[in-house]
Symmetry: C2
Subunit: 408 residues, 2 copies
């Protein structure tokens, strides 16, 4: 995004410089390490400008100098490089599911430091969930370096999140309507720090697109297969948001009009036949153990006959996604990851059964490049976004004594 062109010349030059600082930082963040020559090429700026930007980002503790890269052979003298400082400023990422919450402290470059998790009991009120999440945040922040700035918090929720303000408009499987969950968490932490909320599948797509299985691809869908099912859609390289940010709610596409009641109020939504509860039922995992379904499935190493129908229905439903969006790749996240790993043949044949041939021919089903961390890392990327827009301003709003400030 270009900086604002209005205002006096001085302000404008300052805006350009901050924009360039953020853009350079994003390149280093995306790649981990990059030579100055590559930065010069990618950013279209001359070497002395790059050198100035590097010096400033170094002094801000965001990047550090690296030896000339030896991996890639190019003509001429190898160019000195820069490397992301993954032990400096950080964010806290939250992957809030229907039955559990995972929290991590994440440094620049997507480095995961501490993690913490907890189950979310059914019928829990939003403020109680907020208290649980705040406690997990405290855990991971408590052990962070005392002088590392906390840039912000990013929370992934299985919900329709309003783009303007991050309000959780509707989380069918949590039973939430119009919940300002970000404010609840900040209140529980007694902390004033930038906080951002996003839909879980959208954030899974963001992370897989930036550093997972879909780097460099333009038409990408990430499906989050948990208690609920949703899609994060990237089309022509850009997130498909829709009018208010709610696009991608494919879990509520009608799969069988005579099917089971869904938490959304309709019948026979796709997620009622392929969501966590349907998978658990297929393998006779008790309902109160659904939060452990991931571990159960990870332990399975051979295809299970019992999973065939749900795998087939996963593929059939994916056909709707493929017919509607014509993606190049569909990444299967959440419980769909082990399901696809175990039952890939059934999933693919279900897809072939209902997808239009040309759309089927142009798509590939794939496992997440980031394992089970796509959504969590997407929440981290969202929380880091301000530092790539304006590092100076972002560090200005960061909390520098977070461990002391939020100590229980």
């Amino acid at each position: 995004m270009a900086p604002a062109q209005r205002g006096g010349t001085g302000t404008n030059q300052e805006a350009v410089r901050r924009h360039n600082l953020g853009t350079l930082l994003r390149h280093v963040h995306d790649l981990g390490e990059i030579s100055r020559a590559e930065l010069t090429g990618r950013m279209g700026l001359n070497r002395s400008t790059i050198a100035g930007l590097v010096t400033e980002l170094d002094s801000l503790g965001l990047i550090e100098h690296a030896l000339p890269a030896t991996g890639r052979r190019t003509a001429g003298r190898p160019s000195a490089g820069v490397r992301i400082r993954d032990d400096g400023p950080y964010v806290v990422a939250v992957d809030l599911g229907v039955d559990k919450a995972e929290v991590a402290r994440v440094g620049l470059g997507g480095k995961v430091w501490e993690r913490a998790g907890a189950p979310i009991p059914q019928e829990t009120e939003a403020w109680q969930v907020g208290a649980t999440v705040a406690a997990l945040i405290r855990q991971v922040v408590a052990v962070s370096p005392a002088d590392a700035p906390l840039i912000g918090i990013g929370i992934a929720v299985p919900a329709l999140v309003r783009r303007n303000d991050g309000l959780v408009r509707h989380a069918p499987n949590l039973g939430w309507h119009d919940v300002s969950f970000g404010s609840i968490v900040l209140a529980a932490l007694s902390l004033d720090v930038p906080i951002a909320l996003g839909n879980d599948a959208d954030l899974g797509a963001l992370a897989e697109h930036r550093r997972g299985a879909a780097v460099g691809m333009d038409d990408v869908i990430y499906i989050s297969g948990n208690v609920g099912v949703g899609a994060g859609v990237i089309t022509n390289g850009v997130r498909l948001e829709g009018a208010a940010g709610y696009a991608g709610e494919v879990g509520h596409l009608c799969f069988d009009p005579d099917g089971e009641r869904c938490h959304c109020g309709s019948n026979g939504c796709w997620e009622t036949v392929v969501g966590a509860h349907a998978i658990a039922e297929a393998i006779r995992c008790p309902a109160d153990q659904v939060a452990r379904l991931g571990e159960v499935l990870e332990d399975v190493t051979v295809p299970l006959r019992e999973l065939r129908p749900v795998a087939r229905d996963l593929g059939r439903g994916l056909a709707a996604v493929v017919n509607a969006f014509n993606p190049r790749v569909v990444i299967l996240g959440g419980y769909f990851r082990p399901l696809f790993r175990l039952m890939g043949t059934e999933v693919t044949s279900g897809l072939a059964e209902r997808a239009l041939r040309p759309a089927y021919d142009s798509v590939r089903l794939a496992l997440p490049g980031l394992g089970s961390d796509s959504v969590l890392l997407g929440a981290a990327e969202m929380a880091m976004e301000p530092v790539f827009v304006d590092p100076v301003a972002s560090l200005g709003t960061a909390v520098t004594d977070a461990p002391a400030r939020i100590a229980g």
Copy 2:
């Protein structure tokens, strides 16, 4: 789109000039008439540059001078205006349906001159359909002014059209696979002129977005409800194409897994319950009269009980579209236009039944602003596209003696 920045300075300046010529022409084409002051503001160019461009476009026969606009009061002296020349260069637009073809000669500004149409008998081969279309094109071109240049031909097809080359990959209801329909039509005409193919719903969306019910809106869906059903999706102001151009095939979303066989090979696709044959059956219109269904429905002026189930199913299926894409407006084209006009309450309640509330709250169902011509005018817009990229080059490839050249 900015002109290419490479090449020598002379070439570059020429490219910039042609880009500006095309851009100015598009403004006049979109609005019909516009003052020079408005052009100066919209294009960010000074008055003398605008004057030069106007003079050149005038000499090319694309626009003409207009009196100062009196309709709008602005401060200062009224600015002289320019008006599109709708009687000069033209395109031929083809709306090819499963059971009929409509062809029109369309001037700049979207002015429809002559029209012609013919039924397409069932089980017709692609080359026979091509011959029928070519005959209709001859009819409308035969009566065009002898000196008016034919810029190109645009054809809307109810099919998955490959973006790269316009190949018809799959037209389920025509039974076509990998048909190079553009070449077939040109061969039948013995004419070498630019020809472009597009999906019918995509072109309906294009025309409604440019000069219909969705001008200035960013998240728009046009649904073509004919023998088949498809969606043209505009998201964030840009057409959603997908990896190869096939996005929007919502007619083949599963509506009832136990439903009727669809021409695509699956069962219970949405179009089997709301397509032309389902509507015809509901009102006991004989199967061989389906091509006249539009006229039959236009004659109905009061809601019909017989149409309630199909209207309800239209709304229920639209819920999938709304949940998946979160559009601001859904425009109901084809036979859905009279169906929505007659049975709006049932359609809306079917939508409310299955759409997620926040997505439902942000969408509006609407009739096409262009009546039954959305797809036809979208085909015209597609064919005109080159003249807005580079008017000089486009006129260079135009056919200037078309009536004589293609006279049977």
